[in-house]
Amino acid sequence: MKADPGVGALPIGPPRGVAGLFRALAADPRSAAGLALVCSAIIAAAFAPVIAPSDPDTPDFINVLAPPSLIHLFGTDELGRDVLSRIIYGARASLFVGCLSVAAAAVIGTLLGLAAGTMGRLTDALIMRAMDVIFAFPSILLALAITAVLGPSLTNAVLAIVVVNVPVFARLVRAQTMVVSRLEFVEAKRALGFGEGHIVFRTILPNILPPVIVQGSLLFASAIITESYLSFLGLGVQPPTPTWGNMLRNAIGFLELAPWLAWFSGSAIFLTVLGSNLLGDGLRDRFDPRD
């Protein structure tokens, strides 16, 4: 969607183009480190069959709980499966849940926020009170309750994370919509006779996207953590599919015998979340230098 010429009227604005944004992020050491960590996780997830040294599910009962070595860089688990391969494949589930849940929450939350901000008081009150109720639950508890009721699976983990994140986007978009819809270039569009749909989706939406993107990048980190919590508690993606959370859950039983299981699976979550946070901070600095 092409941004309306009115973009220039706003105090906030992204660097020009995706290439410009990448250049700006790469120039800042913290953002570059974040970008490198997140890109590493994405590459691991995308090319897992090529990168992983062995099949993540193939047991090797001769090498059960083998410590890190040149053959198994991250050691093996209680079934002799290569931990490095499982971590590489585990990136798939974690990133998939993180990306899909944040994207879905962003789309739903943005539509609800736009509706609340533009469709009058009654719609606003109905939508925002519903959002307040969801906000009234500690997010991990609500996610737990949803997966507990619907059953543990990848789809339900995504659904739970979407539900807890929708209000964040809805509140943000509503607030931004209220500000933007009162600006002169929007009033000018109304005066020129453009329809409400055109104004909302072609004029207001492009102008409120930068904070939504920043929020998305920060919530991506929190979505990965929530997924790992759910998997850790046994309510997320189920074994034998490897995820970092269920690997860490498994590692608890072998802390004395094989501490590397906990070290490596936890490090994978930590580094990806750290990268997302660094990237999110960098994006926020770029999109809103006042912050």
Binding site: R129, A130, V133, L141, Y229, F232, G266
Partner: protein, 314 residues
Amino acid sequence: MLHFIITRFVSLVPILFGISAVTFFLIRLVPGDPVIAFLGLEADENAIATLRRQLSLDQPLLVQYFAWLGRILSGDFGRSIQGGREVLPLLLGALGPTAILSLSALALSLMISIPAGVIAATRRNSWADYTVSLAALFGLSMPSFWLGVLLILTFSITLPIFPSSGYVSPLADPVAHLRHLVLPALTLGAALAAATMRMTRATMLEVLRADYIRTARAKGLPSRTVVWGHALGNARIPIVTLLGIQFGQLLGGVVITETVFSWPGIGKLTVDAIFARDYPVVQGAVLLTATMFVLINLVTDLIYTVLDPRLRLS
């Protein structure tokens, strides 16, 4: 002020209604018959019909909801499917350990984060500032259960100083209680400390640039008085706001920490009930936790309007 408090209380009513409705209808999504889940597959048909009538399950859904709400308001949270104990005493029994853990985590995080944030702000761009900023970033990025596991690995297995799990009542053995408390409180307090450190640093940086700080310095007041008295005093509003939000979030965080350390609080009770498919306990625990979460947010609102009367007017 009284008007403000009453208004805030009244605004809670629809939220509490919403929480009860979400909790009620969420549990109704569970496949299967709750009466058979309670009485078992071999139950007598008369007993099933009686219990169904007692629980208003033969009524339309909306009638069921209000009947359930009436029972909740009169303190009847139902009975646990596992063992048949009443849910409310179970929840209240678990509240004590959760309160101890949450308050300890909060105290621990404040003891670390406020001085660290102030030092980072007053010595901007020094090694102390970089260390605090890095520690805060790491703390925010570290999943609490992994930190818990690392603490167990280090302080329970490699150096057997603290027990890795369990709970001892403070009345039975205060020393053993404290030894059991250290690792879970550190785990839960770390993320809280990280966010508070960041907020304290950012707010202090802003406040230290204010004119009245320059005036205080020009008057010759000692730096310690200016920073810890004048500046921190004015930086407390956003810090208290964040603490209130985070204290509420602790109620979510305890779910994970209590599970890792087998701490018998409301979080562990919830997770155990989920695995036992003990839905009356899940329902009660979710309802109670969400209600506490809302009330804590209300108390935070009230505290910061006391700290800054301008907020009352706005």
